[in-house]
């Protein structure tokens, strides 16, 4: 139960229009107060359990997403918030968009909507909690996602 009572989230905005971001932040504010469930928006991935990703992934932020994902200690859960993060949303065939977050890292739960209401995001966090618990029990580790090919710029 311990994980389920203290989910610390790290919010990663990869390619989002801010709509989802402000709703994620709104979850933490008094009217929704996610801290009731022990949710803390912690700054550093090293202390986070749930990675809340908003926005589709683009070619520049893919590195950020992978690095942050790798830096979260196991067990960890990725929550994709919004149409963009889930499937690429309205931007799914823009030239600079790779697609939903699951194209890059494994996603455990999705929150639909553009943008999703804070209630929906809270639902997502609650859903993530049970997944977190399962992962802890099953000792399921997240795989390390490597940067590949030209995602690593040759240094100038």
């Amino acid at each position: 139960m311990s994980l389920a009572k203290s989910p610390w989230i790290i919010h990663v905005n990869v390619n989002s229009c801010n709509g989802c971001d402000i709703e994620v932040v709104a979850c933490l504010t008094p009217l929704y107060d996610a801290e009731r469930f022990g949710v803390l928006n912690i700054g550093t991935p090293k202390q986070a359990d749930i990675m809340v990703v908003t926005g589709s992934v683009n070619y520049k932020s893919v590195n950020v997403l992978k690095n942050i994902y790798n830096q979260i200690p196991d067990p960890k859960v990725v929550l994709a918030v919004g149409a963009c993060a889930s499937t690429g949303g309205i931007f799914h065939d823009c030239y600079n968009v790779i697609g939903g977050v699951d194209q890059v890292i494994p996603v455990d739960a999705y929150v639909p909507g553009c943008c999703p209401r804070p209630e929906a995001i809270l639902d997502g966090v609650v859903a993530a909690l049970s997944i977190l618990e399962e992962k802890k029990k099953g000792n399921i580790k997240g795989k390390e996602v490597k940067l590949k090919g030209n995602e690593v710029p040759s240094n100038a």
Binding site: V12, V64, N67, N70, L147, N155, A156
Partner: protein, 638 residues
């Protein structure tokens, strides 16, 4: 027995200095080892021999007195010659004054019959420092100087080793001599050694700084010699005699006040207290072993040694209070000055001055507890500082810089060296180590004087800050692992020895206190502090320092760490760089706006604006000169 040891202590280093000149470079290592072993053996032997006074009577005395006379003339001639050669007029002027005073002494002051060496516990402590730490430093130098000279295209090692071991002899003489005239000779000889070694590089900077050291020490020497002359008018010609004389009655106490104050000023100059501190900072251009030997653990201690020895002549008087305030002022001022320094050797230099100031302050307070603190601090400080200087030297050879900022990540490059350096720093500012213990004792002792204690409090907070910065920097793991330094025995043996000494002396602080310090304080003040060392506690009348518990807890922490290290599946990861890094590359790199990787770095806070050197130095000069003037005027009896 004891006579022989005393003589050997002076003669053996002299012999070695000649050997260093005579024998080729390739044998230096062996010589240094031999010197180390002999020095250690002799000093331990002296301790085993116990205390006592060695009288030198006729016929040896006449012969030796002549030697002394010749040497003094040579010293003065050397000063005059060298300052004339380099056209350093202030030094020349001071040399002429010294010569005049010497001539005056020679013709007017009554001659003494016989001379004496006084071996008390304090001298024993000093001898141990000089002959164990000092020879260890020379040993270290054999692993150090080659690379040093290579960098600077020098070839003067003969001079170097000659002077170093000659210095040991002079220093041994200095701490044992009781006759003021002889003491003065040894005093000037150490000054000369210091001059030679500071200008070792023979470049402009070195020579200028050497002359600054020479000049300022000559000022001190002049004060010292005037003091001696004044004392001679009271028929006091030995160091121990001053206390005895002052103890006879109130009038005698008042009579020696001015000469004692002058002797103290001499001590201040030697210990580079404000306003003389600039010579010690300049001395940092010398090779690091020199800084370690002369400018932190031994020669500068001669100043405070003298001041502490004079305690009976001013304890409890207003002169004592003035000295205490002066010392604590130097302590806080130099600690503040160290705050804005990023050159490791300058930090150490300021820290040295500050700690000497603390010793002087403790001596000035003059209670048994305080004097005990002063003597112990001399010992602990010498060990820690020698280690720190040597480590800095070795660090410089490892990374090519003595800038604290460049040392970040050192733990990855040279773990053992870094651990030793860290131990040195920790021992300077944290319990349960000796330096802190003595700082604690002196704080408790000083709490009767509001000004001194406030200065000490501020100073100790500042000390924590500048060491913490450095400590954190060397322990931070940011540099990638490359260039592991070659470990040389003659480098790491002295370092480890000093490290070990820190731990051992700190653990056995009470026996050390009991054996060396307590009787000495008894001699000086005819009263010993009420300190007990039961149950691993160092208990004074107003507090207790539970050092053993802390050692135990520290060991516990290490144990817990080792036990839990692998309990929670450790996994190495990359740094948090806001997501813009890459594990495979340098772990501190991040991708910047131009899509290329760049290294992140962090420098410490140095507060140059608030604690800037020039601003504070000016302030320090002003206040310290005022304080010295007060002390002297108080001596005259105003």
């Amino acid at each position: 027995m004891i006579e022989n040891t005393v003589m050997l202590l002076i003669i053996v280093p002299l012999l070695f200095s000649l050997l260093f000149v005579a024998l080729p470079k390739s044998l230096y290592k062996i010589l240094a080892w031999a010197l180390f072993i002999l020095g250690a053996a002799l000093s331990v032997n002296l301790v085993l021999d116990g205390t006592g006074v060695v009288q030198i009577g006729e016929p040896n005395f006449a012969m030796l007195e002549n030697v002394v006379l010749i040497l003094e003339v040579l010293v003065i001639l050397f000063i005059l010659a060298v300052s004339a050669k380099y056209k350093n007029w202030p030094t020349l002027g001071l040399g002429i004054i010294s010569a005049a005073i010497f001539a005056y002494t020679f013709s007017n002051v009554p001659k003494v019959e016989g001379a004496s060496f006084n071996i008390d516990q304090f001298s024993q402590v000093m001898i141990l420092i000089v002959n164990i730490i000092g020879t260890a430093i020379i040993l270290f130098a054999t692993g150090y100087m080659d690379q040093y000279e290579e960098h600077r295209h020098l070839n003067r090692q003969k001079t170097f080793y000659f002077t170093m071991s000659f210095f040991l002899a002079a220093m041994n003489g200095l701490v044992m001599a009781d006759t003021l005239g002889w003491l003065f000779l040894f005093w000037e000889l150490t000054t000369l050694c210091s001059f030679v070694l500071i200008s070792y590089n023979m470049d402009e900077e070195g020579i200028n700084n050497g002359f600054r050291a020479l000049a300022l020490n000559l000022v001190g020497g002049i004060a010292l010699s005037i003091g001696i002359i004044l004392l001679a008018t009271n028929n006091v010609s030995t160091l121990s005699g001053i206390g005895t004389y002052a103890g006879t009655n109130a009038a005698a106490l008042a009579a020696v006040a001015l000469p004692v104050a002058l002797l103290c000023v001499g001590g201040f100059a030697k210990s580079a207290q404000m306003p003389f501190q600039s010579w010690l900072l300049g001395a940092m251009v010398a090779p690091t072993p020199v800084s370690a030997l002369l400018h932190s653990s031994t020669m500068v201690n001669a100043g405070v040694f003298l001041v502490v020895k004079l305690v009976p002549a001013y304890a409890g008087t207003s002169l004592g209070t003035a000295i205490a305030v002066y010392g604590s002022f130097t302590f806080v001022m130099c600690s503040a000055l160290a705050l804005s320094q990023r050159n490791a050797k300058r930090v150490l230099a300021y820290s040295t001055i500050a700690n000497l100031g603390l010793i002087i302050a403790s001596a000035g307070i003059g209670t048994p507890l305080a004097v005990a603190a002063a003597i112990m601090l001399i010992l602990f400080h010498a060990i820690s500082k020698a280690l720190l200087f040597l480590c800095t030297g070795e660090i410089e050879h490892t990374i090519g810089s003595r800038d604290i900022e460049d040392m970040s990540g050192l733990i990855k490059k040279a773990p053992l060296l870094t651990t030793l350096a860290a131990l040195g720093m920790v021992s300077m500012l944290l319990p349960p180590f000796g330096v802190l213990l003595t700082k604690w004792v002196s704080m408790e002792a000083a709490s009767s004087n509001p000004v001194v204690i406030v200065f000490l409090i501020l100073g100790s907070a500042l000390t924590t800050v500048y060491y913490a910065k450095w400590l954190g920097t060397i322990l931070s793991s940011s540099m990638d692992k490359n260039a592991v330094p070659h470990k040389k025995l003659e480098t790491y043996f002295p370092l480890s020895l000093l490290g070990l000494a820190i731990v051992v002396t700190s653990i056995f602080v009470f026996p050390i206190y009991d054996y060396f310090v307590k009787p000495q304080v008894d001699i000086l003040l005819k009263a010993a502090p009420a300190i007990s060392g039961l149950a691993g506690e160092f208990t004074t009348e107003i507090g207790a320092f539970t050092y053993i518990v802390i050692f135990v807890v520290l060991a516990l922490a290490i144990l817990i760490y080792l036990a839990t290290k692998n309990m929670f599946t450790p996994r190495m990861s990359s740094y948090y760089m806001c997501g813009e890094n890459n594990l495979e590359r340098d772990r501190l790199m991040f991708r910047n706006g131009l899509c290329s990787y760049e290294k992140s770095s962090v420098s410490n806070i140095y507060l140059q604006n608030t604690f800037g050197e020039s601003k504070l130095t000016t302030l320090g000069y002003a206040i310290s000169i005022i304080l010295i003037a007060i002390a002297l005027l108080g001596g005259i009896g105003l």
